[in-house]
């Protein structure tokens, strides 16, 4: 089970609490298997990230952590670093923000469609895109370690609003 919101711009009224619970369970299992500590702090931050349905900034997370008590930026960044290493979240370069990964079990690059209006985001998993990246890299004798694809534009809903206004 994955969060449908993160695979399509359309699906909206799904039980996101269930997605969150699922993501936490997957994270737990994955950390245990890798013998990494899924501490309360790490759990809390991952949960905060999943609660938003769009990419969240580090300082947004910080503010939320500070509602529980004192916290410093480095705390957030350290946790983010861990979550990124574990593949539990993706970093969205164009937004300086972070989002929960829908499929942390399988290692993969983050490929995204991002709406410039509502900041909504969809993770793309597509073999043709991956193949094109591999082909280009092979052609230049380049060893891929990581790839970031961020496609910016207008999601269907925001496009509709724009056209009905104008």
């Amino acid at each position: 089970m994955v969060c449908p919101k993160q695979f399509s711009f359309q699906s909206d009224n799904h039980d996101h609490q269930r997605c969150i619970r699922n993501a936490m369970a997957v994270a737990e299992k994955l950390c245990r298997r890798r013998q990494q500590r899924f501490t309360p702090l790490r759990r809390r931050v991952l949960q905060l990230i999943w609660q938003q349905q769009r990419p969240v900034g580090a300082y947004d997370l910080l503010k939320q952590l500070q509602q529980d008590g004192k916290a410093a930026p480095i705390t957030v960044y350290r946790v983010l670093d861990f979550l990124l290493r574990m593949g539990l979240v993706h970093r969205i370069l164009s937004q300086n923000a972070y989002i929960g990964c829908v499929c942390p079990e399988r290692e993969h690059a983050g490929h995204f469609l991002i709406c410039q209006t509502c900041k909504g985001l969809v993770e793309v998993v597509d073999s043709a895109l991956t193949a094109a990246i591999v082909a280009n890299s092979l052609a230049l004798d380049f060893q891929v370690r990581q790839s970031a694809v961020e496609i910016l534009g207008l999601c269907p809903r925001c496009a509709k609003e724009v056209s009905s206004e104008g």
Copy 2:
């Protein structure tokens, strides 16, 4: 004529001064055609960007400008904003840096291979990659405005060095 360095990791001893002169001439023509002012400051910054053969940070540019006289960060960012709007430079998200565009006449997204060791960069122009992006967007009824593809890894030269060390 384009800078071969920006299309391959291999070509190294080409006449880069000539590439720079060419880039400046193209920029000049393009601004005139669009009735935009290619001021001395804008010219200077674009030249500084082309002089590096890798992505340059805004504050690197600032330091170089300050050798001519006083300058503030906003000055650099304003010029970068102009150059980006004109398509004369690309912003490299993963590096917080900027690089001259090898083909500003034709509007296009920036697709790059970036070496994590030497920070060398190659601009990729590939229809299969573009097609994959378009296909994904169409499938989700998403209107693309801009796309950023940054493929990080090891360029052939750095790969060779790593293997000869280890």
